[in-house]
Every structure is written in C-alpha cells, then in structure tokens.
C-alpha cells in the first residue's frame, strides 16, 4: 500500500486520520461494518444482529459467540462497553462521534447503546475504526482507562501503536509513524483468514506513487492519485473512486467581519455567478458539480439535476436589489494541493466567474496552519476549503453547519441571523427515526441551505484507489478506512 501518511496513532479511541483508520480497521473489529464501498447500511460483524427501538434512541446488539482477541481470549460485552466508554471519555478527535451515547452490558453477549436524542445512524457510527473493540483486560494492563476522567487518567500513551489487542484479521508487526506500518495476519482470527500474510502500508510521495504503481512487480495499491493523474494510467490497473469530498465557499454573516458578505443576497448572487461545471472539470474527469453540501457518496445527497445553473443576470439583479454596488471581497484559502489539485486554480476560476457578475474578489492564499487559525477565529469574510465527512453520516453536517453550530459560527451564522426555514429543516433531520426518513430530511435541509446559508457548494471529487491487476476487493471506500485490507484478495 502506498499512501501519503496522515497518521498519529494506532489507538482506536484516538484515531481519526485516514492512514491510521485504515490500519486500525484491519486490527480491531467493530460491532458492525460495511459491505465493500456501500456505506448506506451497516452489516453485522462482531454483533451477529442488532435492532433499534421505535424512537431510534435505543439499539441492542447481540454479539457472536466465536469472536476472540489476538491473544486467544474471548470477546464479550464488557470489552465492547469498555472500548466505547473509552472512546467517549478520552476526549480525542473521534470522541464527538459518540457524544450523547451511553453503553451498557446487560449480559455477556448483549450491548445496549442509548442515545439522548433519536439517532438512526448509531450503527454507522459504531462501524467506524474509532469504535474498534479492544481487549479490556489487556488495555487496562497497558494503562488504559474508560472512566469519565479518562482524558487525564488514561496512561496508555503510544503502547497501542505496537501492541495488538483487537480481534481483527491482522496484528501490528511494526510501526513507524513517519514511514511504514507492517501488519501480519492474525493466526487466531475468528473469521476467514486474510489472503495476505503481510501487508506493508508505506509513506510514499504522490509523484512517486504514480510512477511506482505502473512498475509494480508485486501486489500494490496506490491511494493518493488524483483524477488528472489517473487519466494517464495504463488500463491494466484497477481504479476505483467514490465522490466523497466537497469543496465550498463560505461567506461570513457577521457584519463586523464584512458588511458585504453579511448580506444573504451576496451569497446567493455569488452562488449564481459561479460556473460549477467548469470548476468541476478542473478537478479531473472523476469530479462533478455539487448540488448540495452532502457529497454523492453518502445517503441524503441531492441529485445532480439540482445543481444550481449559472445565471449572471440573476446574480447582478440580486446584488442590485440588495443595494450592493461593486462589491469587493477578500477570498482566503489554504495554499495547498489537495488530492492532486492546487486550490489556487479553483479560486482563480471563482474569481473570474464572480467578476462577470460585478463582484471583485481578491485572492489571499495562506499557509494551512494560518488558514486554520483564521478560519477557527471566524475572521474570514470569504473562505474556501475542501471538506469530507469524518464518518459516513450526512446528518453530522447538520450538527456542524446548522445556524449556531461550530462550523456555522465560524462564518458568523448565528441562530438570530438564520432563516427559520433552515432551522426547521435541520430540526427535522435530527428528529428523524429511520435512515430513509433522515435521508429525505437531509435533501430538504440542503435545499434550504442552498437558498439561505452562507455556504456555497462548488464541486465534489473522489478519493481514489489504484490497484495492480492481480488484486480483488480493492475498491475505495468512503467509510473512512479507504480500503478494506482484510478483504483484499487475488484473482
């Protein structure tokens, strides 16, 4: 496996970076999982079955009885509760995925998950690598704590970077956070043995990956090639992708930051001015214009027919009606290449499109850390950034982008400044008790967001996995683990 490392730890309770999630998924089993790249419905895994209460506040998981950890000991519900409590209480990056949830073990083979609010996405959340189940006894010996004060009491440090206390198909053979993770097949794996005895996840520069995958003599997968790079590869390689990333503008609604962007008419005019089809082409053949905030890979995405058409006259009219004459705005963006695309080329296109509607945009690239700092402080009048879901639940966007939520506040979008229709649409998403109901509510929410929010979706592009011809089951998964390593086989 060749990938540009995004990796801090192999501790499931703190992992949220892509490379770490891929390795952790192979070492730690979860209650449920996904079948290949389809992330619409969680499938039984450690739990042989699960059921939801009618109000989607209580989920009961029944564990299979043959699952064992890598040391041969039996996995039971106490291990599950310990692992999920630790995830919640450690206060790491993935902890917010289980906020408001509590976990109990009425007997050795049953786990009950209770949510404060209706949440039909709980099985999806529990499929994430961060919800991997660890051997509670072994973890405790290493200093792990699942108590409420785990953020300070847990002393496991980096022990889980080298110790394998999961029940997954692989165990950790060696770990170097900057260059290489070596996994070896778990001889005591309770499920079907993986095809490969040894898997090496190696940090390789993306240009290097492009050359190496074409000359690969062994089974190999490259994970960082972008759309334009893939177009030039030989047909013998297997390419798969999933439209899981979105790119959007955000116009600050705080008048203290910008009187111009604070006017909702500005966002609407800019949204009409941009040529989304032309912008998508800049990302390569795999990209599409964005219809809404949810990328097409996830349930709840708007159909492509909902992509807002370009309307320069309409944009000018909106600005004139709002009394915004010759607006001049600074657009700040991170000066990075993301998935092979220089973000500068995208914002330059936005600048050109906006100029046709009479909007003057000054481009200001910033180093990524400075950008994150400015964005976090809510200081940007107009910002541009890529985003993807931390876990395949589109409703998480409501938690972050609804008026008054974290991301929305960074654009000055408070509840007071929001249209009631958007708030109502968000509430409907959070009140939904089934996946289908929630997906429908998400679509309506996006329609309202397109009409009223400070966020202007531009395009979606794919994460891509390129594999040598002899491999099977190498499809790119938007689930967070990129490629399901235990399932990779040969023809």
């Amino acid at each position: 496996m060749s990938t540009s490392f995004v990796l801090k730890s192999l501790d499931p309770s703190t992992v949220y970076e892509a490379t770490g999630a891929m390795a952790v998924h192979a070492v730690y089993d979860t209650l449920v999982t996904f079948d290949g790249a389809d992330v619409t419905e969680a499938q039984p895994w450690l739990a042989e079955s699960f059921e939801s209460s009618a109000d989607a506040k209580t989920f009961t998981f029944t564990l299979r009885d043959d699952a064992v950890f890598a040391d041969g000991s039996t996995l039971d519900s106490e291990d599950v509760v310990f692992s999920l409590d630790r995830l919640k209480n450690l206060k790491g990056s993935p902890s917010q995925t289980v906020e408001g949830l509590s976990f109990t073990a009425p007997d050795a083979s049953t786990v009950v998950v209770t949510s404060e609010i209706p949440n039909p996405d709980i099985p999806t959340i529990l499929a994430m690598p961060s919800a991997g189940i660890m051997n509670a006894d072994a973890a405790t010996k290493l200093g792990a704590s699942a108590a409420e004060d785990a953020a300070t009491a847990d002393t496991v440090g980096n022990a889980l970077d080298t110790e394998s206390i999961g029940s997954g198909a692989y165990t950790i053979s060696s770990f170097d956070p900057s260059s290489k993770i070596v996994l070896k097949a778990n001889p005591d794996f309770w499920g079907e043995a993986p095809e490969f005895d040894r898997v090496v996840i190696q940090n390789v520069d993306v240009q290097n990956q492009e050359l190496a995958i074409q000359k690969a003599k062994n089974a190999e997968i490259a994970l960082d090639l972008s759309g334009p790079m893939v177009e030039g590869l030989p047909d013998t390689l297997t390419v798969s992708g999933s439209l899981d990333t979105s790119y959007q503008l955000s116009a600050n609604r705080d008048p203290a930051v910008s009187e111009i962007t604070a006017n909702p008419a500005f966002s609407q005019a800019l949204s009409l001015a941009v040529d989304r089809t032309a912008i998508a082409e800049l990302f390569g053949a795999d990209a599409v214009p964005a219809a809404g905030l949810v990328p097409p890979a996830f349930a709840g995405a708007l159909p492509e027919s909902d992509v807002q058409a370009r309307d320069i006259d309409g944009a000018k009219q909106l600005l004139a009606d709002a009394g915004i004459a010759n607006p001049e705005v600074e657009l700040v963006y991170p000066a990075i290449t993301y998935r092979g695309v220089d973000l500068g080329t995208i914002v330059t296109r936005v600048q050109q499109d906006a100029a046709e509607a009479g909007i003057t945009i000054t481009l200001t690239p910033q180093p990524i850390n400075a950008f994150l700092d400015s964005q976090g402080a809510g200081k940007l009048a107009l910002g541009f950034t890529p985003s993807s879901l931390n876990y395949p639940v589109a409703a998480s966007l409501v938690n972050n982008m609804a008026p008054g939520a974290g991301t929305a506040l960074r654009t000055g979008w408070t509840v007071e400044r929001a249209d009631p229709a958007v708030i109502a649409a968000g509430d409907a998403v959070l009140a939904a008790t089934t996946i289908e109901e929630r997906s429908g509510a998400m679509e309506e929410w996006q329609v309202q967001m397109n009409a009223h929010s400070p966020f202007i979706p531009l395009a979606n592009n794919s994460g891509i996995a390129v594999a040598t011809a002899d491999l099977t089951n190498t499809e790119y998964s938007p689930a967070g683990w990129i490629v399901d390593l235990p399932r990779v086989g040969t023809k």
Binding site: S179, K180, L211, D373, G376
Partner: protein
C-alpha cells in the same frame, strides 16, 4: 580555547531555545486547530483536553520554563504528531539522515576537490568553463526537481534503482544498534538486507552528492585561484619544485582553510536541509520529520529538531576551528 568555546556554545544553545520558542509561539496557527478534526476543535471540552494535555493552557513563560527544565533532564518532550518522546523520534530519524548525508558528503568532497583544483589549474580553458557551467547548473537546479528527474530516469525508465524508502517491503529492518541500516545489517550478519539497504541509498546519496558538489567545487576553485596569485607560489615555481608538490603541498594546503569551513557548514546544512529530497524519495529522515512537524505545528518536535541542528552547527564549527588551528598554528593563538 576549547573550554572557552564550549562555554560560548552553551550560551548560544540557550539563546536558540529562547528564540525558537518565541518564534514558534508567535507564528500564526493554533496547534489544536492543526491537530484536531474541525468538529473536535469546535467542541470546547475536547479542545480544552488537548490544550491541557500539551500544556498549552499555561502562560508562555511557564511553558518555556517547563521546557528548559525538561531539556536539562534530557527530556525533549512528547511529539504531538507521533505521540512519542521527541528524543526517541530523533534517535530514529537522525541516523536515517546520517546514512545518506555522510556518504553524500564524502563523495562530494572528493569530487569537488578534484574538479575544483583541476578547474583552477586550467583557468579559462574549455575544461574550466565546462566545470563552471556544471557547477552553475547544479546550483540553479531545484533539489525536488532533480530528485523527481532522477527518480523518473533511474526507477521508471531504466529500472535500475528502487523508487524510495530505506528497504524493500520484503525485508524487516535489522536489529537497531546505530540506526543506520547498512551498518546494523552488517553487524547482524544480514548481508541480503545490507545489499538491499545499499541499493536504496544510491539514489538519495547520488542526488545529495550532486547538489553538494555543485556548490563546493566553486569554493575550491576560487580558494585555489586566490592562493595561486601568492608570492610563495611564484617562489616555489621559480625554485623549480615539481608541479605535484606545488599543487598539493603548497597550493592546496594554503587553500584548505576556507574549503574546510565551507565543507563543515555544508554538512550541517545537509542534515537539516534535505527536506525536499527526503520527501520525493520517501526517505524517513530528519528533514521529513521537520517538514511534518512544521505542518502540524508540533512545537516540541520543531524545538527538538532546531536544537539538534544548532548543536550540529556548533560542534562542526568547533571541530573546524580546532582543525584550522592544527593546519595553521597561527590561528590557534589568535
């Protein structure tokens, strides 16, 4: 003299910790924003836990005091990006960089001295012009571009060399003694691992050597040319001394001092400055570590790398001064 220089070096290193600490602290960027997911960053409880864990909730002066006290105990702190002690990281990544920097420097010095002396002795000839063009081209070539070009040619087109990394995926690293795979493999008697490690060294060492030769040979040439105009050289020629004796015993010895100084500085710069080459060749060395530390605003790692580079510069300068005193005893008394 050495005791006095050591005293100055310690003050210099302390000053470096102060300056680096302040610089890293005033650089725009919030370590919590750089290390947490946006959603986690928006959660005050998670953000507070992060800041408490890394001591970022303390006043700057307290953070610095803690850092300095820890350094004196040999503790460089914990890296936010690797979750390991910075000292452990440095112990792993420094040998990897040494493994390419030392052979690159040796090769570069030998070639640069040879070509520089040759070029100076044939000043104005086609050979001299050719060598100067070569040097200028090398100096003008961006290191990452040269690395990509070399990778394309020797891996992709010719297939002679591997695409990067320290070892092929079929091999595990040898038991660590020095951290340099070639030496450790020999010590462990793993000759196939040794051969594979050497094979992986060729590309990065070649690139770094080429870049270093280009800069160094200009210094050698100009140092030699400067000495060639000296009276003692004209006297040696007038006395009828053999050409070889004039060149190596008089000319080269007199020009050695500036060459020695520049060589020392270039070696130090090679240790910390091979970032882009290490990135392209996927070499897990100090440059790569420094690059990743900067991207994630990993304060402890940045300070650790800076301190190490400062120590290297200080030690190399000390060695150069001592050697200079041996070459020219007048310097020792100055």
């Amino acid at each position: 003299m050495i005791a006095k220089r050591l005293g100055s070096a310690l003050i210099l290193l302390w000053g470096i910790t102060v300056i680096t600490f302040l610089l890293v602290s005033v650089v725009p960027g919030d370590p919590a924003a750089a290390n947490l997911s946006p959603q986690a960053y928006d959660d005050p409880e998670i953000r507070e836990a992060f800041e408490r864990k890394w001591g970022l909730d303390q006043p700057l002066i307290v953070q610095y005091g803690t850092y300095l006290a820890n350094i004196l105990r040999g503790d460089l702190g914990i890296s936010q990006q690797t979750n390991r002690p910075v000292l452990q990281d440095l112990q792993q990544y420094i040998p990897a960089t040494f493994e390419i920097a030392i052979p690159a420097m040796i090769i570069a010095v030998v070639i640069a001295i040879g070509l520089g002396v040759y070029s100076a002795l044939r000043k104005g000839t086609a050979a001299d012009n050719g060598i100067r063009v070569f040097s200028l081209a090398g100096l003008s070539t961006p290191p990452f571009w040269l690395a990509l070009l070399a990778l394309y040619l020797f891996f992709y087109v010719l297939g002679w060399l591997p695409s990067g990394g320290r070892l092929s995926n079929d091999f595990d690293p040898p038991p660590s003694v020095t951290g340099m795979y070639t030496i450790d493999a020999l010590l462990a008697g793993q000759f196939n691992v040794f051969a594979d490690a050497v094979w992986h060294l060729v590309l990065p060492v070649g690139i770094l050597a080429l870049l270093t030769v280009s800069a160094l040979l200009r210094f050698v040439r100009s140092a030699m040319l400067e000495v060639m105009d000296s009276d003692f050289v004209r006297s040696a020629v007038a006395k009828g001394l053999p050409r070889r004796t004039i060149v190596w015993r008089h000319l080269f010895k007199a020009g050695l001092l500036p060459i020695l100084t520049v060589t020392g500085l270039m070696f130090a710069s090679l240790l910390g400055g091979a970032v882009l080459v290490e990135q392209v060749i996927s070499w897990p060395g100090l440059g790569n570590y420094a690059y990743r530390s900067a991207l994630s605003l990993d304060l402890q790692s940045i300070l650790g790398v800076t301190l190490f580079i400062a120590i290297v510069y200080t030690v190399i300068n000390l060695i150069v001064d001592v050697l200079a005193g041996i070459i020219d005893p007048r310097i020792g008394h100055a």
